[in-house]
Symmetry: C2
């Protein structure tokens, strides 16, 4: 069956395609179109999700039943070849997802390093020649051009590619399939927008976009290319159902994390902790395979690039911030400082979330005015960022180069922690070393344990505030923007500050304090625990820090949870995605159905006339109908459950009525409709 | 309410205690005893689990509903103090579980190291004086005495403490509460039996028992001590329900893994991957907290012991096998060797599982004859192990000490990899270095990268076969015996063998091959992926091995899964614990209810007379009854679901009947019973 609906064209189409595939497997009713299925749906901003309301096409929870039905009917009659085909293809798909995500991540790394490196070299050379205005012009010019590219892509081609993408993927995996979240155009913009955005020097990360990219790749491969662009394969028909698609996208999200942080185990845990609600052990196994593939691909490609074959990219191994091998030993003062860090992280994190939320709401007013306004906003923020990156270092005094270091000082090349900026020979500007470099290099400098006095206290304070507020005002503009890197930067700077202040009496070195600071701020904003812990471990390869890191994360999450929700949850709420938590909010205990439904209420009784059902389907645009038994069948009106439009269509198409229990001549078709409704209700109970 | 049932005395009691606590919260019906609830149940060996059959008291799945009911009715009327009390106590309990598990693990470590160390020193000194027979007598004597202690404890006090304990904990967390699995006596025997067993030189680990110990501690704390020994606290009444108990025991199991391997993240993942079916994000968070506490406790205690204040225990940090810091770089030959290792691991693993199963079945015949037979079996295996440990090293030729090593050779003290055994000065016996030492030290030697030629090929072959077969015949005797250590030992030996053979052409060193071998064999027997990976990482602190480790685990698990199931699953089946997999086996598709029920079939219809219900409850010992609607209510007999004995008792006690819909004078109490049955069925749908 060739469904005329395209998955990325419309939410309703997705539903239809799914039903289409069921029909296909179901047998002879496959030729019937769904004339009563809604084709377009509007999005509202209500947070309360209702299965069947016309908010978003929420996936039905019936995939288990449907799959079981499928198996019962068809499995035994199918040839073994088909079963083998299914299993083999699923693994092939998972392998392909891992491979592609690894390749995309690697391409992203190389592109960012080369573009940003070129820009920084240019600026640095002009600075060396003391052409200060030209240097600023070069920096700001490059930034604005790159930012404009990212913004144009994002605003005109795929608005859904803006932002982190993690909230959207999370929402998708929890049953909310919002408009074009995983479309190929989104994928395209996410990849290139992220490269331009990060290279433009914004305080954004590539981690969130990489997760989204992984999910998009999984979606694209899972449906065998896009129907819109005539890139589809028939042999992928088995995967055109909610369950397989969700599995694949979970793998894709895990692969994204694994690729972004080069953290395969962290990827699995992220998918588990943050993303997926429907978790099965088979999924763990498959996700693990995907991230292993990503790790192997990345490892091989990094090996390949060791000999400067990839331009400016070439350093670094599989572990991104493997720069601090200090063995942590700590005394009571250290422990107190760590607890303090946890509390600070919690407070700063919740304030950060609060401010991000406010800024996002402001930006969404601007963004709604049209694509040109979005691009303008991006350009303004880009100029602001450039001013900040170029202007703030002037506040720092020049520091004489230390004698006892191996690194060259001041730095000659692009990377390195001792940028000379405006300073005379033999001196370096510590703020410039943090600001006029890539975000990854800045993190490396902060985590480093080589020179505890590398950064002055005032510089760390300036840098913290710059990162904190730039991070807040940058998220929400129309570029793909991850939150991890800004948060790590801000956290590491206050962590290093604490370490610097306590240096005379503390045992832990300043680099480890920076790591703990990053952990505390991440815990305070993202509110993840196990996956963050593993990701940070895999980022820094310092397993001995584990107990301290767990402590910091526990404290910061607990403190921050007193004030508000995690930043991804806030974004999900703000975007109006009807995300249902695993546990009900307290206020929901007082809600009645009337609070959440829209339009006139159409109910069916457990036994219903087909003509009534047809009439209701034609007259309303509701996606679900409560089934209520009323007296005299029961002693009080009783809600049996909810029947979805799509279920009713299946029944109607299959003509699954009975004439068995006619109570009067007019009510011919009631009996079996009753049974089926009951069965459906039971299945969702 | 003081329930007269004790949780550890009897399965039925556990069910009753749960119902008791519900009643307690429910209100005024708390004084009613359950005369119809069965007090004793027999265990069968059928693998097919039926809720309600008289196999094992399987926990009902209704805790969500019950808790919701509880909340709806009581939550608003309760004082805020009580809510705070609940939350505070849960965290306190979790903290206590972490603390106690950490302390117990540490006590275990110190005891084992001191007892085994004393034994090995004694034997070593006698060997140095060339008193070979006396040395053997000392070794075998110590071993037999220790083994007898362990066996007597295990056979006479708590037979449930034999074996690993992981299958039982897994079964418990998946709803099967077998007899006295988590009783205080089991805890006691598990702690001391494990110490004696490991110290007795058996090829057993302390990891499985530690997981079981953690679960027992959690159970003990969760119910506020044992009722049997009058050690209970009233303020723990909130936790006397299935859900909280399961949560706590999950935390306990995670704490056990964390304590055994000093691997906090591995503990969380183990609990997630292997143990718990009912996983919620709150549980992740709580488990993480528990294992963090364990890590901090262990870290502090190990710091404390650095100055030889703990006898022979004193070396080692938080990472147990942190002995190989070689940076893995590999070529094509290495990769092929690694794939080969994975395949070997899968094949050896599945054969291992097969043989363990056969041996277990043989042993269970012996064990059933009575406690004295069990002790005898333990003594026989102990003598066999001693013969092996003392006899096999005579097969090895003396090797001249290498010149370029820092370690002393031959070893003077207790630990060290160069035991002289029968060799003249300046020589060492490599097999003795592996066999006449603690299992941990043997693993350390195998993983070590210091001297690639330390072990000869023939010695590694002998050692592999010794460990492989001793491991198989040791599991199943009446001592607490973990499977991890034997599997790691055997795997590491063939891994090192491959590394040794490929040394001239491979890039990876032999120690890393040993690690990969251990991973492959673990994957082939346990069939875990993510948690094993993380545990091995935390054991060895070599993050760069991650991609290779993932590869090996994937291959070995895939290969082994072609032949049979994981070893824990096999043990669960063999013990007759009615464990239900997340997915149905193919043959179950053809099962009908009649295949699994016992006794005469008693069914209720959706609408049932109270007198019928009462009569059936009195006459049968069934724990559940199918509810079937028959014509004329439906057009064909239709199974509505299953109602549990305990549910019926709740209804009967609450007198929740109605007289609304009397069809005849005799059928007075039918109406509401119908509704309630429907509701219960719905809730479990």
């Amino acid at each position: 069956m060739e469904s005329n609906a395209d998955i990325e064209s419309e939410g309703g189409g997705e539903k239809m395609s799914r039903n289409g595939s069921i029909m296909e497997d179901g047998g002879d009713s496959m030729m019937i179109r769904e004339p009563l299925l809604l084709k377009s749906r509007v999005n509202t901003t209500s947070q309360i999700a209702i299965v069947g309301a016309n908010v978003c096409p929420i996936e039905s929870l019936d995939y288990e039943i449907l799959e079981n039905d499928l198996f019962k009917q068809d499995w035994r009659s199918r040839k073994k070849v088909q079963i083998f085909q299914y299993v083999f293809m699923k693994w092939t798909l998972v392998l392909l997802i891992g491979l592609s995500t690894g390749l995309v991540a690697f391409f992203n790394n190389i592109a960012v390093e080369n573009i940003a490196g070129f820009k920084l070299l240019l600026t640095g050379n002009l600075m060396l020649k003391q052409k200060y205005y030209q240097a600023f012009a070069a920096l700001a010019g490059c930034n604005v051009v790159l930012a404009t590219c990212a913004a144009v892509l994002c605003a005109y081609i795929a608005p859904a590619a803006a932002g982190s993408g993690i909230p959207e993927v999370k929402a998708y995996l929890n049953g909310v399939d919002a408009h074009s979240i995983l479309a190929p155009s989104t994928l395209f913009v996410k990849i290139f927008g992220s490269i331009f955005g990060v290279a433009a020097g914004f305080v954004v990360g590539k981690e969130g976009p990489m997760v989204h990219t992984g999910a998009c790749i999984a979606n694209l491969l899972g449906q065998g290319g896009s129907r819109k662009y005539h890139l589809t394969w028939n042999w992928l028909k088995y995967f055109k159902n909610d369950r397989d698609r969700r599995d694949l996208i979970t793998c894709g999200a895990a692969a994204g994390v694994a690729a972004a942080f080069r953290a395969p185990v962290g990827g699995v845990l992220f998918a588990l902790e943050e993303a997926a609600s429907w978790w099965r052990s088979a999924l763990l196994w498959r996700t693990f395979f995907t991230t292993a593939v990503v790790a192997v691909v990345l490892k091989s490609l990094i090996e390949y690039c060791k000999n400067e074959t990839c331009g400016l990219f070439g350093e670094g191994g599989l572990i991104m911030f493997d720069i601090n091998n200090a063995v942590p030993s700590y005394n009571t003062i250290d422990l107190l400082a760590i607890i303090l860090l946890g509390v600070i992280g919690g407070i700063f994190g919740s304030i950060y979330n609060y401010l991000v939320d406010k800024v996002l709401r402001t930006y969404s007013i601007i963004n709604e005015r049209g694509p040109s306004f979005r691009v303008l906003l991006v350009i303004i923020i880009s100029v602001l960022t450039s001013c900040c990156a170029y202007g703030v270092p002037w506040l720092a005094k020049c520091i004489p180069c230390p004698d006892n270091i191996k690194e060259e000082c001041p730095t000659k090349g692009r990377t390195g922690s001792y940028k000379s900026f405006q300073c005379p020979d033999g001196h370096y500007n510590d703020l410039a070393s943090l600001l006029l470099t890539t975000n990854d290099d800045a993190i490396r400098s902060l985590f480093s344990s080589l020179n505890v006095n590398e950064f002055r206290i005032s510089s760390l304070v300036f840098f913290f505030f710059a990162m904190y507020f730039l991070g807040i005002i940058t998220y929400g503009i129309a570029i793909p923007s991850g939150l991890f890197i800004p948060v790590i930067l801000a956290g590491a700077s206050y962590g290093r500050l604490v370490g610097r202040l306590l240096h005379p009496i503390a045992n832990l070195d300043a680099g480890l304090f920076a790591l703990l600071g990053a952990a505390s701020f991440l815990g305070g904003t993202m509110r993840m625990t196990v996956s963050l812990c593993v990701i940070l471990l895999e980022l820094t390869n310092n397993l001995l820090m584990l107990p301290l890191m767990m402590l910091v994360l526990l404290i910061s999450k607990t403190v921050a949870d007193c004030f508000n929700k995690g930043v991804y949850d806030q974004i999900v709420i703000m975007k109006g995605l009807p995300f249902l938590e695993a546990h009900a909010e307290p206020y929901m205990r007082h809600l009645v159905a009337g609070d959440v439904v829209s339009g006139p209420l159409i109910t069916f009784s457990g036994v219903e006339k087909v003509s009534n059902v047809l009439h209701s389907l034609r007259m309303t645009s509701h996606n679900g109908f409560p089934v209520i038994d009323e007296p005299p069948i029961t002693d009080a009106p009783e809600l049996c459950g909810l029947v979805l439009r799509s279920h009713l269509l299946v029944l109607l198409k299959g003509k699954i009525f009975t004439e068995h229990r006619r109570l009067s001549g007019a009510q011919t078709l009631r009996g079996t409709m009753h049974l089926i409704l009951q069965r459906l209700v039971l299945g969702k109970g």
